[in-house]
């Protein structure tokens, strides 16, 4: 059992959760994720380890409410236990001194970006971070990102905070201005697709972190498979980070919609039961 030590809401739908997981806290690196199952009847969902403290034996998750499982998780309270937490899963991010690195994070994609930015900085890179969201309250982890980046640029679709515009506009600004040696783009699939089309124009090697549907997270089921460079890869064991230019984005987005009907029905049902209780 893994106890929730701390919870902080960035907005109604996004929260940071600090969780007891001593073994994982010791062995995790930037880029790793965990799979959690809330209770006996819960599903297994993958979440990036945004941070960890080996001394305290805790890991940090940043979770956005998108459906039943994430809603149930955000409804937990400090002191509650999570039945299953397994990890660290996936390959750690490949970190080296590239020179200048552009890190573009959208939505909760900023959470997995945080440990990467931190590690890149420690490896001696100049890190320029672009944080993007639809509106001001969806911009998360700004202070943390400022602490590890040389520069942080903020983009909102509606201009309620930072500059008005899409993440790609912010990325273009940076690339026009100075030489960028490497890019990381993490966020919703559509944002990663267009973000990497932008870097491709300038031939900047780009890594993305894919968030496909998963079950076990250990390579056993193939639910997470996508085509990378024309070959089928399992995101949980071969990734989650891949060369952005090799990803078959259309296939990946189709696969992420596999359970749309079921997810939607389940969420409606969940909202009803929550309302009844309230």
């Amino acid at each position: 059992m893994n106890k929730i030590i701390e919870m902080e809401f960035f907005s109604e739908n996004v929260a940071k959760i600090i969780l007891e997981a001593p073994d994982i806290a010791k062995s995790r690196k930037a880029g790793h994720f965990v799979i959690i199952r809330m209770d006996e009847k819960g599903e297994r969902i993958p979440l990036t380890i945004a941070d960890g403290d080996p001394e305290k034996g805790t890991i940090t998750l940043v979770v956005q409410k998108v459906g039943v499982s994430s809603a149930k998780l955000l409804a937990k309270k400090v002191g509650d236990e999570i039945l299953d937490v397994v990890g660290p899963l996936g390959h750690a991010t490949h970190i080296e001194n590239y020179g200048t690195v552009l890190c573009a994070g959208g939505g909760v994609g900023v959470a997995p970006m945080m440990p990467i930015v931190k590690a890149l900085k420690e490896a001696g890179n100049k890190v320029i971070t672009v944080l993007a969201g639809r509106t001001k309250e969806l911009i998360i982890l700004e202070d943390e990102m400022r602490a590890y980046s040389d520069e942080v640029m903020i983009m909102t679709d509606d201009g309620s905070y930072g500059k008005k515009g899409l993440v790609t506009a912010g990325m273009e600004d940076v690339i026009q201005r100075e030489k960028v040696n490497k890019a990381f783009v993490i966020g919703p699939a559509i944002m990663m697709k267009f973000g990497s089309l932008t870097t491709k124009k300038y031939n900047i090697p780009t890594d993305v972190s894919l968030n496909t549907i998963m079950v076990d997270g250990t390579g056993m089921c193939g639910a997470c498979r996508v085509s990378i460079g024309g070959k089928t890869k399992f995101v949980c064991v071969d990734g989650p980070e891949f060369d952005a230019f090799e990803v078959n984005w259309d296939e990946m987005m189709t696969r992420m919609g596999a359970y749309k009907t079921e997810e939607h029905a389940a969420y409606e049902k969940y909202l009803q039961t929550v309302e009844k209780k309230a």
Partner: protein, 494 residues
Amino acid sequence: MENIAEYIKEGRKEAWRAELRKSMKPKERTSLERVQMREQDGEERSHNSMEVNLGLTEQMAVAESHRCLDCPQPTCTIGCPVGINIPKFIKKIEAQDFLGAAAAIKETNALPAVCGRVCPQEKQCELNCFYTQKLNLPPIAIGHLERFAADYERNSGKMAIPEISESNGIKVAVVGSGPSGLAAAGDLAKFGYDVTVFEALHEIGGVLKYGIPEFRLPNDIVDVEIENMRKMGVKFLTDFIVGKTASFEDLREQGFKAFFVGSGAGLPRFMNIPGENYNGIFSSNEYLTRVNLMKAAHEDYDTPVLSGKNVAVVGGGNTAMDSVRTAKRLGADRAMIIYRRSLEEMPARKEEVHHAQAEGIEFMNLHNPVEYFADENGRVNKMRVQKMELGEPDASGRRRPIPIEGSEFDIDVDTVVVAVGVSPNPIVPSSLKDLKMSDWGTIIVDKETMQSSIPDIFAGGDIVRGGATVILAMGDGRKAAVGIHNYIQEKVAK
């Protein structure tokens, strides 16, 4: 093998056995009919997840045991990969000492209730039975009798917890809780070791839990075995991936003196044909895991599964049979097997093929998929298959299927399950640089001791054999337990 033959011969001399042999003439025995397993009606059971086979009654078991001739050279035992003393346990049943029968099986088989249900008896003990070999009659129903004895013991409430040597306090780790890991853990506990089983998933049991469905092997049966091992002092840690959550080195530092790796052949293979990544196309592992481990078919569980009306399952093994019969139970109107060889050559247990047929599963043998098509949402809606014919025998001794050019046609499907085999789980090997591996990704071990190229690491089951059977995995686990015991004793003695 020498000593097994000796042990089997000795038992036969006992007075009670000689007495029983004399109680009935061999002619009378061979004239008896083979018992028929009671089972749920085919139509009815194709809509529920209850066990298909209902077991033998005491009368049925005793009647069947009378058929066994208690042969001087019991060839059945040669067919058994762990050398169960088959005539001894069958004669115990004839003597109506059912608990004694269970004890006799347990001398060599740690999980008889499981093996009685899932072993391919028709290729092992029953194939080698005197009845099959020399009399051309149906063999003794050895599998059914094994199941009977084990179930009798479990239901009697007198399940024997094996005797355990005095604790020696030496820590041994078992990686993976499939049949090989469970067998190794059980024997190591008997030898007095402090055993911890590490399991990556949230459930103990490996394929027995996430793969083989309830209608063939109810989870309760596996759970009883696990509970007994807990009583023997074995510790189980779920959600723990050795090589990820902690390394072997970390565990050595925590005092583990040896390891048994039974991490299985968990990686699903696909065929790499066009359209295979459309929605609605699953590996059998994903399909079965969603249903068995995550209970996706239950209303109140959160995990979803796509259960179609037209389901095609590609493959001919136990995994394919389990998937197609699961699809039927999830409400498919049409559930079919697409297999590139003939019906006779399907590697699945014969009983499962018969059961599937009785449940209305369609068999399209000598067909192979070549491409998939999807609707505008990316959900599979058609598969193109090609007809095959049989050519010369290949390395496996079976005739090679050859595609017939121009024979392609399309079938409407909304769900496809790909059950064409699995590869060894790479997590352990990739975390150990010095571990010697075969070209197929299996761990190379000494056949007697099951020791790998790293002295404190032993391995068995599917991670060593590729894909095998429950009984072979279990046998490996037991051999490895002896190997580990000798290894540690030698080191301690030094």
